[in-house]
């Protein structure tokens, strides 16, 4: 089996799995006042400190959640509501055109139900938001902007955004910035304080932690209205009994991922180079999507994304799956029916190109054998998919 879909999810680090299973037998609600509760609470707080240290944040800036989607919802809704409460003019939500649906759909929901106006930030052909584009968008009505949300690195084509510069532009107007850094942690250096952003989303299962556990890093003076009401956990920002074993595993994983990030990035970049080279040789008319410059400030080291002219992505995926090569078409499917990727469309590509695409993403368990398997199979697979599209 050649698993090339690490951007979707990546195997749990054995140390994280061990941390988690070690705690599964231990009872304790971290909110309880007795010894068992305090034991659980201690695990949570030590995990919080570990997560904070790994990501350049203070422990009080870490809000523990159930993962990336929840963190994105909390950031976009919570900051919008807080900003609008303070000043009712603040209805505009500035969002890049290539965001994950967890940000995109949340923004659209706010527009439909909460009086927000979504202003898309256009991207260039590589999928990048230029600081000047953000400035111009803000300038249209600076007092009416609730927040800006631009992802650190794109999940489909791996494009890295100029987060520091974007944050600086927004702060010039006193506007808070959220970034979904879910794909970046473990592949790129991610430092919350240094980046200047006000809120940052991370999730465990993208870097070898467990599914169902993540965090929203939020500046202490950034007002966030809660989405989850209840027992008042996480400083009233996110109520709900904490999943202690998962949080501990999240901490174990993020520490390792951050520590190993530089050598991992180098190793993945080398594998990715072999993959891109091999695919282009096997399929000369394959089109590479995203930034053609493969440096860490431009593109995720483990990401490759191609369009194969004359093919349908789902036929390619099926044929590769039958050969035990697992990847993604990168498009959202609600009914299992693929829609052309909004990311590729935003980058200026047409629907045909968007529909004939595959994303290959490498991770900490990827080997040269995975790349070799893909390179050997892709030629015949493309040929068959082409004949099926006739």
């Amino acid at each position: 089996m050649a698993y090339l879909d690490h951007a979707a999810s990546t195997p749990m680090l054995p140390q994280a799995a061990e941390t988690m299973s070690g705690l599964l037998g231990q009872v304790g609600n971290a909110s309880s006042l007795h010894a068992a509760g305090r034991r659980a609470r201690r695990v949570v707080e030590e995990s919080r400190e570990t997560i904070a240290a790994a990501l350049g944040a203070r422990p009080s800036e870490v809000v523990l959640t159930s993962g990336g989607t929840e963190s994105d919802n909390l950031a976009v809704k919570g900051i919008y509501w807080a900003r609008r409460s303070a000043d009712d003019r603040r209805r505009r939500v500035l969002v890049s055109a290539v965001e994950h649906h967890a940000v995109l759909d949340t923004a659209l929901w706010l527009a439909e139900h909460e009086g927000a106006q979504v202003r898309w930030l256009d991207v260039d052909a590589a999928g990048r938001v230029a600081p000047a584009v953000l400035a111009a968008a803000i300038d249209e009505a600076p007092d009416d902007v609730a927040l800006v949300s631009v992802m650190w690195a794109n999940n489909e084509v791996g494009t890295v955004q100029p987060i520091g510069e974007l944050a600086e532009v927004a702060h010039g107007y006193g506007i808070p910035v959220h970034t979904d850094a879910v794909q970046a942690v473990g592949q790129l250096p991610v430092d919350f304080a240094a980046s200047g952003v006000d809120a940052l989303t991370v999730t465990g299962h993208k870097f070898g932690g467990p599914l169902g556990a993540g965090a929203l890093l939020v500046g202490r003076d950034v007002a966030v209205a809660p989405v989850m009401h209840g027992g008042g956990q996480e400083r009233d920002v996110r109520s709900g009994t904490l999943d202690v074993p998962a949080i501990a595993a999240l901490a174990t994983a993020v520490e390792i991922a951050v520590k190993e990030q530089p050598e991992r990035a180098e190793r993945l970049a080398a594998l990715r180079a072999a993959l891109v080279h091999g695919v282009c040789r096997a399929v000369p008319d394959a089109q590479l999507n995203g930034d053609h410059v493969f440096s860490l400030d431009r593109r995720l080291p483990g990401n490759a994304h191609f369009s194969f002219p004359g093919c349908e992505g789902d036929a390619l995926l099926m044929l590769l799956d039958a050969r035990d090569i697992e990847c993604s078409t990168g498009s959202a499917c609600s009914a299992g029916v693929a829609r052309p990727s909004h990311v590729l469309l935003a980058m200026g590509h047409d629907e045909a190109r968007a529909r004939g695409s595959l994303r290959f993403s490498l991770g900490h368990t990827s080997t040269a054998a995975d790349v070799d398997a893909l390179v050997a199979a892709i030629g015949p697979v493309v040929e068959r998919a082409r004949s099926a599209a006739q």
Partner: protein, 362 residues
């Protein structure tokens, strides 16, 4: 063989796929998405292929241990089946969308794609029996679906698989239970799959708009009522006729003819509905074409009574003339006439017109 099993989310296709797996084939399951905006749940027994059906199909594939995908054929289905359905009614004919779907989607678009991707056959849960590549009625005559498959050509039948042909429905459900398939007790879908509430007239009204016109008595030529759209009526229909006064002879009236051009619906007695000769367009033969004329049994509806007939070619080979040995009641243009030799399906043709009265000797 590499077999593509189409799973609707119902019990028949699930058991059919299970049998293909047991037979040792390399099976991949697909659920066909026929609509770009499917309903979340099935409304009772009507309709098909909602998101709930897709989930049921996925779960069945899990139990069978086979790969599962959803294929988006919504655009082709919209054009080849739904648009055709509307156009036929607009032209005053009575279509059978299930037949168009088998002919153009399941055993054409889907089959073509399957073959291109390396599959040898498409497997479905239809109740029909293939014997040495020849299409026959299913053992369960009440459930027999050979009628809707009579439109398939030899190249399509050569790559079709109908594992349920030898089993009765009750046994299929029992088998589903035994295999641990949750859909064992799911109600069968019926009516037109893309009209989930069963209100075909209402659906057509939304697509064709109101087109009011007269209801005319065939015998007297007088106008006896009015309607909102001729497309809501089909030959032989009795319900839905808004007729002001009862017929002189006190007998119920039936639709004899629908003319969309003049927006006229013509009505008459039950006897007027009898057809003894049916003229069709060009036939599709399921195997080598028989030499005409030939004796055959004709079926004019999905579960219609089979009628013995003499089948001749019309002059110029433009179609067939079916001389029925006993009358058929209410034969509508656009319907499919399926032809059988005993239980074996010879082929089918689309009805152009029916002729009532005594058998024509010309």
């Amino acid at each position: 063989m590499k077999v593509l099993a189409a799973l609707s989310g119902g019990v028949d296709s699930a058991v059919a796929a299970a049998r293909a797996v047991d037979a040792g084939h390399d099976v991949t399951a697909v659920h066909l998405a026929l609509s770009s905006t499917p309903a979340a749940v099935r409304s009772g027994a009507r309709g098909c292929c909602s998101l709930e059906d897709a989930r049921d199909a996925r779960r069945a594939a899990d139990v069978l241990g086979v790969p599962f995908y959803v294929w988006d054929v919504a655009e082709r289905f919209g054009r080849d089946v739904v648009d055709d359905f509307v156009a036929e009614y607009a032209a005053g004919r009575t279509p059978n969308p299930c037949i168009r779907c088998n002919e153009r989607i399941k055993f054409a678009a889907v089959l073509d794609r399957a073959v291109a991707l390396g599959f040898d056959a498409v497997c479905t849960g239809h109740y029909a029996h293939l014997v040495d590549g020849a299409l026959h009625r299913a053992r369960d005559t009440g459930k027999d679906q050979s009628y809707v498959l009579a439109v398939l050509a030899p190249w399509q039948l050569a790559r079709a698989m109908f594992p349920l042909g030898d089993t009765v429905k009750a046994d299929v459900r029992r088998e589903a239970h035994a295999r641990g398939l949750a859909v064992a007790d799911k109600p069968d879908s019926h009516d037109v799959c893309f009209i989930p509430d069963g209100d075909t007239a209402g659906w057509l009204r939304r697509h064709l708009g109101e087109q009011p016109g007269p209801i005319v008595d065939a015998a007297s030529g007088t106008v006896v009522g009015g309607h909102d759209g001729a497309y809501a009526f089909t030959v032989g229909q009795r319900r839905g006729l808004r007729i002001g006064r009862p017929a002189a002879d006190g007998q119920p009236r039936y639709v004899l003819d629908v003319s969309p051009v003049t927006r006229t619906v013509t009505v008459g007695t039950a006897a007027d509905l009898d057809a003894r000769t049916v003229v069709t367009g060009r036939p599709t033969w399921c195997s080598a074409p028989p030499s005409l004329p030939v004796s055959a049994v004709v079926q004019l509806r999905a579960h219609g009574e089979p009628i013995p007939a003499q089948v001749e070619a019309t002059p110029g080979d433009t179609g067939l003339r079916l001389r029925l040995l006993s009358p058929a009641r209410g034969v509508a243009p656009g319907q499919t006439a399926a032809l059988y030799d005993g239980d074996r399906v010879l082929g089918s043709a689309t009805v152009e017109r029916a002729e009532s009265g005594a058998a024509d000797n010309s």
